[in-house]
């Protein structure tokens, strides 16, 4: 058994070493898989802030994942066809520059989260779960039937977007970029968790009445957490779209929301590095169980059930038990 901090370190190291080894062994697809893990983990880290730290069980984070994806898709498709996004009241051009796309993805996701959050946070508990789920469906149907950007067909971006100084078409370079983004976000979130805001957010989660009676406006705290969380997930959405060079309404579907939640549960709720372990295990299962049986989702379902019922704390919790006991 390991201390949780050591385990986290090992996890990040593994995530870094595997694609490098794959590069050496000329297995480029493993690099793609590792990139996928990195990006989905990022989405999970975003959701975990709301769900783990804040206790806000959002079943609608696919909204932000999808908005991030479409931010990339729309900007890049306009750049690709040299048509401006809009000319009135002022000119907005498409772009192929990742940093700009990221900022837009984060901004759009945060704005949507503000609106969705304002309405959803009037409710709590099961209502919140269902309301966020229903908002997700609303975006999903909108994306499918809105013809301007491909509807159900989605948008294909032929060349991956650019990042100054890198050739993002080279898998290992794109992986490195995603890994760096993940590290930066992990640093940001770990700071956030330890700040006054993080304490207030957990306080509002563990005992809302208490937090209110000490003068904390818990709705505002939750709204801010929801918005930050959405911004991170939106950023992950933009990267995911770039990984596939493609966006479609599937990114908005409720299965996507469920999947991001699964990463968190598999890894361990409210553990900062949980989504990384969870996403890695999920992708490995999907990849290898899929080859093993047409009905692999039965096994996935059973594994998930087992984790939820008997292995609370997820992988990281399970592997670092001793530390918790010594605490």
């Amino acid at each position: 058994m390991l201390r949780e901090t050591h385990l986290n370190g090992l996890l990040m190291l593994a995530l870094l070493i595997v694609p490098l080894a794959a590069l050496a062994l000329n297995e480029p697809f493993i690099i793609t898989l590792a990139t996928k893990v990195t990006i989905l983990a990022l989405a999970g880290v975003g959701l975990n802030l709301a769900l783990g730290q804040g206790g806000l069980i959002s079943f609608g984070h696919a909204i932000f994942f999808g908005l991030g994806g479409y931010s990339m898709g729309i900007l890049a498709s306009h750049a690709q066809s040299f048509t401006p996004l809009m000319e009135v009241p002022f000119l907005i051009e498409g772009t192929k520059l990742m940093p700009v796309i990221w900022i837009v993805a984060i901004a759009v996701s945060c704005l949507a989260a503000l609106l969705v959050g304002l309405l959803s946070l009037r409710t709590s508990g099961v209502y919140f779960i269902m309301v966020t789920l229903a908002f997700g469906q609303m975006f999903y149907y909108f994306a499918i039937s809105w013809p301007a950007y491909g509807g159900e067909d989605g948008l294909v971006i032929f060349v991956r977007n650019e990042f100054p100084g890198l050739n993002t078409l080279v898998p290992i370079q794109f992986f490195g970029l995603c890994f760096a983004v993940l590290c930066a976000v992990l640093f940001f979130v770990s700071k956030l968790n330890k700040s006054a805001f993080g304490l207030a957010l957990s306080g509002a989660h563990f005992n809302a009445e208490r937090a209110e009676t000490v003068g904390i406006d818990i709705t505002r705290v939750r709204l801010v957490a929801f918005v930050i969380s959405a911004g991170i997930t939106g950023l992950a959405g933009a990267l995911f779209a770039d990984l596939n060079r493609f966006v479609s309404p599937t990114m908005f579907s409720w299965h996507t929301s469920g999947q991001i939640m699964i990463f968190i549960i598999l890894g361990g709720v409210a553990r900062l590095y949980g989504p990384i372990a969870g996403a890695a295990v999920y992708i490995i299962l999907e990849h290898y169980l899929g080859a093993f049986s047409d009905y692999w989702q039965i096994y996935l379902g059973l594994i998930l059930l087992f984790v939820v019922l008997f292995a609370q704390g997820g992988l990281i919790g399970g592997l670092s038990k001793r530390e918790a006991a010594h605490d």
Partner: protein, 305 residues
């Protein structure tokens, strides 16, 4: 649009609402009594439809098929309650959501494994096929009228069960105070299994009823599950009355939106674009309705604060 068509569409909305009610009733009952959010409810709906299709295929009897749907869904309901669900009552909603999400995967792929990947056949019984003339010259499907009838009967039955019978009293007590009811000496775990099986049976029944006029296929429970969520959020979670009101509201709004919005847009737009934009908006209408209700009543129309 003529008045007759408008009335017929209202009737369609009512019928759609009643079908949603059958789904939503079980969901809201299970939540009200056990505090459990059950995503696998849609899977039980699918189980009901497949059981009905299987039995109808073997025996040719629709009545037996309905009984089979009730029995199979109740049985699978009781089975998952005993093995999985009862471990979740004291857990938070997150664990409930994920465990029941996992059950969806198991049920969907398990059904595909057992029945194959192709849709099954289940038809309306001859006795109920065809149409009848309603007063005012509306030609309406007899089967759909029957669904409205069965749905309203189930609603009435549930109200009676909960307000008049001993079991109902226990259910109401369970809703308010689990500790008290176990102090009364009622075996709460048996009660919970029964309530869960009842909710499952309702889902199975609606799956079978709907299966006769829709496609019996893997994954059929998911869209209706989400609609049922919208229904109980609008109606107020845990309230049967709310589920009925919410279901009819959603049914009518959706149906009228689908028919009227393209017409409205058509009055000032090119017809092709109008149908496209109108339909896009119509597909989001019930979610907009839900958002609207929540702005004014965050716990739904009949929900408790």
């Amino acid at each position: 649009m003529s008045t007759i068509l408008l009335i017929e569409q209202l009737l369609n909305g009512l019928q759609f609402g009643v079908m949603l009610f059958l789904m939503a009733a079980g969901l809201t009952l299970i939540f009200g009594v056990m505090g459990l959010i059950n995503l696998a409810h849609g899977s039980l709906y699918m189980v009901g439809a497949f059981a009905a299709a299987g039995v109808a295929g073997l025996t040719g009897s629709f009545a037996l098929a309905l009984i089979a749907s009730l029995a199979a869904a109740a049985m699978f309901g009781a089975l998952i309650e005993l093995t999985v669900i009862r471990r979740l009552y004291k857990r938070d909603h997150l664990d409930q959501v994920l465990a029941t999400f996992a059950l969806i995967l198991v049920f969907s792929e398990g059904t595909r494994w057992a029945f194959g990947s192709f849709p099954l056949f289940l038809n309306i019984p001859d006795m109920l096929s065809g149409t009848v003339m309603l007063p005012g010259g509306i030609e309406y499907s007899l089967y759909r009228l029957t669904i409205i009838g069965i749905g309203l009967l189930v609603a009435a039955g549930l109200f009676l069960l909960i307000s008049k019978t001993r079991v109902g009293m226990r259910i109401r007590a369970g809703e308010n105070d689990r500790e008290m009811i176990s102090a009364l000496g009622v075996d709460i775990s048996v009660l919970y299994t029964l309530v869960f099986a009842l909710g499952a049976a309702l889902a199975g029944l609606s799956g079978a009823l709907v299966g006769a006029i829709q496609s019996v296929e893997v994954g059929m429970g998911e869209p209706v599950l989400i609609l049922a969520f919208v229904v109980i959020v609008i109606g107020g979670i845990g309230s049967i009355k709310g589920a009925l009101a919410g279901a009819i509201l959603v049914g009518v709004t959706d149906t009228m939106g689908r028919t009227l919005l393209p017409v409205i847009f058509g009055s000032f737009m090119d017809p092709s674009a109008a149908t496209s934009v109108g339909s896009a908006l119509a597909s989001m209408l019930i979610y907009i309705l839900m958002a609207g209700v929540l702005v004014f009543k965050p716990t739904g129309l009949f929900g408790e604060a």
